[in-house]
């Protein structure tokens, strides 16, 4: 299927980016969002009063203000009459908030938009609502003792049996990302973990140790977008968003994914890989491919999943991720650095902020402003993430 409007430029400019450092601060999520928003506005050199559209990524963990995050951030920044949107799409919430802002700009509804996502997370396992609720797959799987790390471990074990992945490979991903994150002032964990430390952490779900699995974090991220015309009038060079993919899966999806007990049945329909389709749609829209990439930010909810993403975003063929990792290509200084920010390994997941944080990293890299973790000559980057209930997204940013 041809991407709708693929021949027309759908690009928008990123004028500013900003974040609140990730951590377990325990403060109100609005504080992180406003901090990030003010940082992005300052980075853009644009006063809040000039923003015509504010797009918030919702959080489900912070009550009503979280459900209407766009308005919550607008009120905290000071009501000024901007049009407002809030998006919720699990891990892809930030990308959908971004897509709403882009649509508003491209349709001529505004010149300047602010996109904000922030979260405050509880401690421990994420668990479902109480009661006897067998109609909710999320309740059923927890009743059976199937937690989020279960799914991450199933993907990891399959790689070991099918492609010869080793525990050392998974550990090498964590060690690599920790080394990247050590140079990132916004990362929650700045420690350079050794393989010995990772392997010595407690087993959670075989083969995953605690330090292979990402934490849940507090944090906030924001971007200021504008039309290319508006950016041109201001002068200077800016990073551009070349594609935003927020596709749904296609039936029959072959993904074993949270929170489902069973996959779709492919008895009467062809089987499709959802995760591969997320990046494919972004490449199609941007008119670019994996060979054009300078770097990638992918969703390492657990370290082995970074290897799956090498394949889903097309950095190598299926079964080739271990060789790519071992070659050193995905380290900063390698051919195609992955998670130069430190990834979820160094950040922990702050759901509505995470997809935006990935885009912030690409923008800093493309500007050559990433400091010690700078990827040389970065021109094009892709983000990829995927979460509950058929949500996922990929964003391509280029110079």
């Amino acid at each position: 299927m041809e991407a709708a409007g693929a021949r027309v430029s759908r690009e928008v400019a990123v004028l500013g980016v900003g974040m609140h450092p990730w951590g377990k601060w325990g403060r109100n999520f609005v504080e992180y969002g406003v901090h990030a928003a003010r940082a992005a506005l300052k980075d853009a050199g644009i006063p809040w009063g000039d923003v015509q559209f504010i797009s918030g990524a919702a959080t489900m963990r912070c009550g009503y203000p979280g459900y209407v995050a766009g308005a919550t951030f607008a009120q905290a920044l000071g009501w000024q009459g901007a049009q407002v949107n809030t998006s919720y799409a699990a891990c892809a919430s930030g990308s959908q908030a971004l897509a709403a802002a882009r649509a508003q700009i491209l349709s001529g509804g505004c010149d300047v938009a602010l996109v904000v996502g922030a979260d405050t997370t509880p401690k421990g396992f994420l668990a479902p609502m109480a009661g006897y609720r067998p109609d909710d797959p999320d309740w059923v799987r927890f009743h059976l003792g199937i937690t989020n790390p279960t799914y991450f471990a199933l993907y990891a074990r399959r790689r070991m049996d099918l492609y010869g992945a080793t525990l050392d490979d998974f550990t090498a991903v964590k060690v690599k990302n920790a080394a990247h994150g050590a140079a990132n002032p916004n990362a929650r964990y700045r420690k350079r973990f050794t393989a010995e430390e990772v392997l010595a952490s407690a087993m959670v779900a075989d083969p995953l140790r605690l330090l292979h699995v990402c934490a849940t974090s507090d944090g906030g991220a924001a971007l200021v977008l504008s039309s290319l015309e508006y950016a041109r009038r201001r002068g200077g060079s800016v990073a551009r968003i070349a594609a935003i993919s927020t596709v749904t899966p296609r039936f029959a999806s072959n993904e074993v994914e949270m929170p489902d007990i069973a996959t779709d049945s492919a008895a009467a329909a062809a089987s499709h890989s959802f995760r591969a389709s997320i990046a494919a749609r972004a490449y199609e829209e941007a008119g670019l491919g994996p060979k054009d990439l300078s770097l990638a930010e992918v969703y390492d909810l657990a370290a082995p999943m970074e290897l799956d993403w090498y394949e889903y975003v097309g950095l190598c063929e299926q079964g080739g991720a271990e060789a790519l990792l071992r070659s050193g290509a995905t380290r900063i200084g390698g051919r195609i650095p992955v998670n130069a920010s430190g990834g979820l390994a160094s950040f922990g997941e702050a759901v509505p902020a995470q997809a935006l944080a990935q885009v912030c990293e690409l923008v800093w890299q493309l500007r050559g402003a990433a400091g010690e973790r700078q990827v040389r000559n970065a021109k094009v980057g892709i983000t990829a993430n995927q979460g509950l209930f058929g949500h996922g997204s990929a964003v391509i940013v280029k110079t």
């Binding site: 421990g124 396992f125 668990a127 479902p128 109480a130 006897y132 067998p134 797959p137 309740w139 059923v140 799987r141 927890f142 009743h143 059976l144 003792g145 199937i146 937690t147 279960t150 471990a153 199933l154 993907y155 990891a156 074990r157 399959r158 049996d161 099918l162 407690a202 087993m203 959670v204 779900a205 075989d206 083969p207 995953l208 296609r250 039936f251 029959a252 072959n254 074993v256 007990i261 069973a262 996959t263 779709d264 049945s265 492919a266 008895a267 009467a268 329909a269 089987s271």
Partner: protein, 145 residues
């Protein structure tokens, strides 16, 4: 004499027969299987089916992948005291072309499992309440590793 009562931990998802089966649905229009059961609208975008028959799913399959739970999961999991780790498998059913997750029977750990290994469906106690055993489907290796 066994005075214990055996009931399903999750009602309507599987039979308590010997041998047991998972209970699914099959679309009368396109033949797609669903687990858990579906009785409303077929999810195949090429099918507008609204009529489903209840079917017993294949009770054997091959392991797609596997792991275990080393930490006690949070409620609604009902843990024994002390918590006993258990293995989990995702199993591919050939006829239905779907993958179904479940616990692996007690006493089998990941070292005895492998992708592609044939397994069969059995019932085992998930937890007990007094004299009542709440049973659930579990996967059992067909050939000892």
């Amino acid at each position: 004499m066994n005075s214990r009562t055996r009931v399903a931990a999750i009602e309507g998802w599987y039979t308590l027969d010997d041998p047991p089966h998972l209970l699914g649905s099959r679309c009368g229009g396109c033949g797609t299987y669903f687990f858990p059961r579906l009785s409303t609208f077929c999810r195949n975008p090429a099918c507008e089916g609204t009529a489903f028959e209840d079917v017993e799913l294949s009770r054997t399959g091959r392991i797609w992948s596997y792991t275990n739970a080393c930490y006690q999961p949070p409620p609604p999991y009902v843990a024994a005291d002390p918590f006993v780790p258990f293995a989990i498998a995702a199993v591919e059913l050939a006829a239905e072309r779907m993958i179904v997750l479940g616990q692996v029977i007690a006493g089998v750990d990941v070292a005895q499992l492998k992708v592609g290994m044939p397994v069969e469906l059995v019932l085992e106690t998930l937890y007990s309440e007094g004299a009542t055993d709440k049973v659930v489907w579990k996967w059992k290796p067909q050939v000892p590793a």
